[in-house]
Amino acid sequence: MTLLSVSGIAKSFAGVHALRGVSFDLLPGEVHALVGENGAGKSTLIKVMTGAHRPDAGRIEMEGQEVVHNTPERSRALGIAAIYQQPALFPELSVAENMALGFESGGLWRRIDWTARRTRAKELLARIGARIDPDAPVSALTMPEQQMVEIAKSLGGRAKVLIMDEPTASLPEHEVGNLFRVVRELKAQGVGIIYISHRLDELYALADRVTVLRDGQSVATRPMKEVERPELIRLMVGREISAIFPKREVKQGDVVLETRGLECRASGIRGVSLSIRAGEILGLAGLVGAGRTELARVLFGLTPATGGQILLGGAPVSVRRPSDAVELGIAYVPEDRRRHGVILELPIAANTTLAILRRISKGGFLDFGRENALAASYVEKLAVKTPSIQTPAGNLSGGNQQKVALSRWLATEPKVLILDEPTQGIDVGAKAEIHKLMVDLAERGLAILMISSELPEALGMSDRVGVMRGGALVGTLSRAEATQERVLALALGHGEGAAA
């Protein structure tokens, strides 16, 4: 008997089709993997299943009964639980309390039975073999422990369906095995698990079936054993890589940026040595949590290095804060566009000049004329679609916001440009424009470090591809050598033995 099934689910946001017809089913005691590239629709699908979004079309059935008007409360009552990368727990409250809130009946004036809470917590934690003190405040637990608490909590809610979104993304290597054990425990207890992950090795170790999402559609559902990795990747990508990217041969100059044994204890970066020449695009691939954004943040001074060296034009430099980086000519376009890339409430013009305030001022006072002229020139150069340069950045589409973010950093006339997922969540047209822009910039002598989780993009745009894993740079492939398999292999640590 099918546990959960969705068919023909469609969902759009403001004209953007996030889901265009997804069908999927889950059996009890099954681990069903859900794969797809960024933007394929995985998060949206989860939100539809947990009731956070109402689908525009399609049908959801739980244990044979149709679910009309799904809401978070309803889906929880039906036994659907989701665990995300960021634990949704109350940090100041104890483990037992976290696991109890939301599941206790009775009114406001009901007396709390702490013993019962503690016992229940202990039981649920034991069911997944987690040795955690129920009285400990959640804030004192490590990430893996918090994850265990979340899993145990959903069990307490008598979850029949457990959705796990990138559960190993923030886990250190040695904890992954523990998680797998828990997943197998849950399987044995009849819980159906939807497992979303980029880490193909994990999927081959755990999953019974796999469904591939691409461009908002479910393109295939196969038993895990029957599909080989290359075919899986092909299904995810669905097209030949070469046709898409406007990469041209660019004459490379001297080494602009170099790092030697770069380390940052707080963010887990260890011994990274790389170099980028003028005119070169160095792609940086790796799985989520491999340390790519952390490396970028070290280079930009957001989390200063605790060891090793950064050299610009051959000379060692010190980057203790972002203003140092800007001064040195290092620019960073962050991954979180809406929170860090632009300031939503500020107009385009103000966003564009935010990193060069001194340069557009005379004697400390802003030169609005220069600001507007500069902003207008970038709007034109990057083809930003906007009624005016005074429009708040929050009113623009994702692609145009990214262009504004880029404008800000291009205005600093950097020597090194670090792009963190530059085309994530952007429509095809804008993506192409940004890629073309990148090549133009390389031709003009910029050294570009491009972090990308989209393998086709990383392979198509880069002169060389560096691969990170566990905070270290585990390999660098030339454009000729780089294939998706090789990159994935390095990213997964293949050959060294995958996680158990």
């Binding site: 956070a52 979004h53 972002p322 400390g364």
Partner: protein, 323 residues
């Protein structure tokens, strides 16, 4: 590739700060003035106008300095107490230490800067919430003033200094208003302050030195409070430990009434000035109409709530329209 599914919390941000609020306030101001012209004794006179401005300078200076503080998303509750502490220090410097008045005044301003620096160090250095830090310094500064005067001592203002309170404070205020306007609305630093108020992390990622900027506004707040205390001493002709009681709240009221958002990122000096005069005219007018101090204050409270409520309502309507 599809656009990423929009997070469910996405909304178009509120209308970029349009001075509709200020327009409403300006109308209110005119209405007030009109009412008091009718019911107040001698309301319509150059003398009265002069008095209104003269009496508002002390709170006005605090309000001017409070505006950038609130724009960065912070608050400074310690300025009223700092007036007292500065006044007492000033007194001790010229009376007990025998320093010339000018020197004492400059040192007092320096003390104000140090006080602001204390707040700044705790707020930016230790990342403590401004509300609690300035609540603590609110207590500490007033406490130091009380301790230094043994609770009862007071200092007579030296004759050479009286000029400041008799009218010379008005040009000081105008210069300060111009200065803060330039800082907040025309300078690179001011743009940085607005960015910090809207999104401290966003500002940091743009290379803005957030710690230094925030420290600046609190130091300025301290210096301005000391300046205000000099004017206070001159006007009241004496300095006591109870000086400036309640002034911080009046200043905050003026700022919020003027349309500055308590959450940061949105604030205008012109709004603060309007708010300040709305309150000053209300108080002065009530006094001249023999309607009593207290009623004026009650109305100020009601005015504040109405202004906030109206603002919240306006914002809700504009976000719904833009969506």
């Amino acid at each position: 590739m599809l656009a990423q599914a929009l997070p469910h919390a996405e909304r178009r941000p509120g209308v970029r700060f349009v001075p509709t609020h200020e327009r409403i306030l300006a109308v209110l101001l005119l209405a007030e003035t009109a009412v008091f012209c009718v019911i107040g004794r001698h309301f319509v006179s150059a003398d009265n106008a002069f008095e209104i401005v003269r009496l508002s300078v002390e709170v006005g200076l605090l309000a001017l300095a409070m505006t950038p503080v609130i724009v960065t998303g912070g608050i400074d509750l310690s300025v009223g107490s700092l007036i007292a502490l500065s006044a007492v220090l000033f007194g001790k410097l010229f009376r007990d230490a025998g320093l010339p008045v000018g020197v004492a005044a400059v040192l007092t301003l320096g003390a104000g800067a140090l006080a602001g620096l204390l707040n700044a160090a705790l707020i930016t250095g230790l990342r403590l919430p401004p509300l609690i830090v300035t609540l603590g310094s609110f207590s500490l500064f007033r406490g130091l003033a009380e301790g230094l005067t043994g609770g009862s001592d007071s200092f007579m203002c030296p004759k050479s200094f009286l000029f400041l309170g008799q009218g010379a404070q008005i040009p000081v205020f105008l210069v300060a208003a111009a200065g803060f306007w330039l800082l907040l609305h025309r300078s690179a630093i001011g743009r940085g302050l607005t960015a910090i108020g809207l999104s401290p992390e966003g500002a940091r990622h743009a290379g803005i030195p957030v710690g230094r900027r925030v420290a600046l506004v609190y130091v300025l707040s301290g210096v301005v409070a000391s300046l205000s205390s000099l004017i206070y001493v001159s006007r009241y002709t004496q300095a006591r430990a109870d000086a400036g009681t309640g002034y911080e709240l009046l200043a905050i009221t003026a700022v919020v009434l003027g349309g500055t958002s308590i959450f940061g990122g949105r604030g205008r000096i012109s709004g603060t000035l309007l708010g300040l005069f709305a309150i000053a005219i209300l108080e002065r007018g009530m006094k001249l109409a023999d309607l009593g101090d207290q009623l004026a204050q009650i109305l100020v409270g009601v005015l504040l709530l109405t202004a906030l409520g109206a603002n919240a309502l306006l914002e809700k309507l504009s976000t719904r329209r833009a969506a």
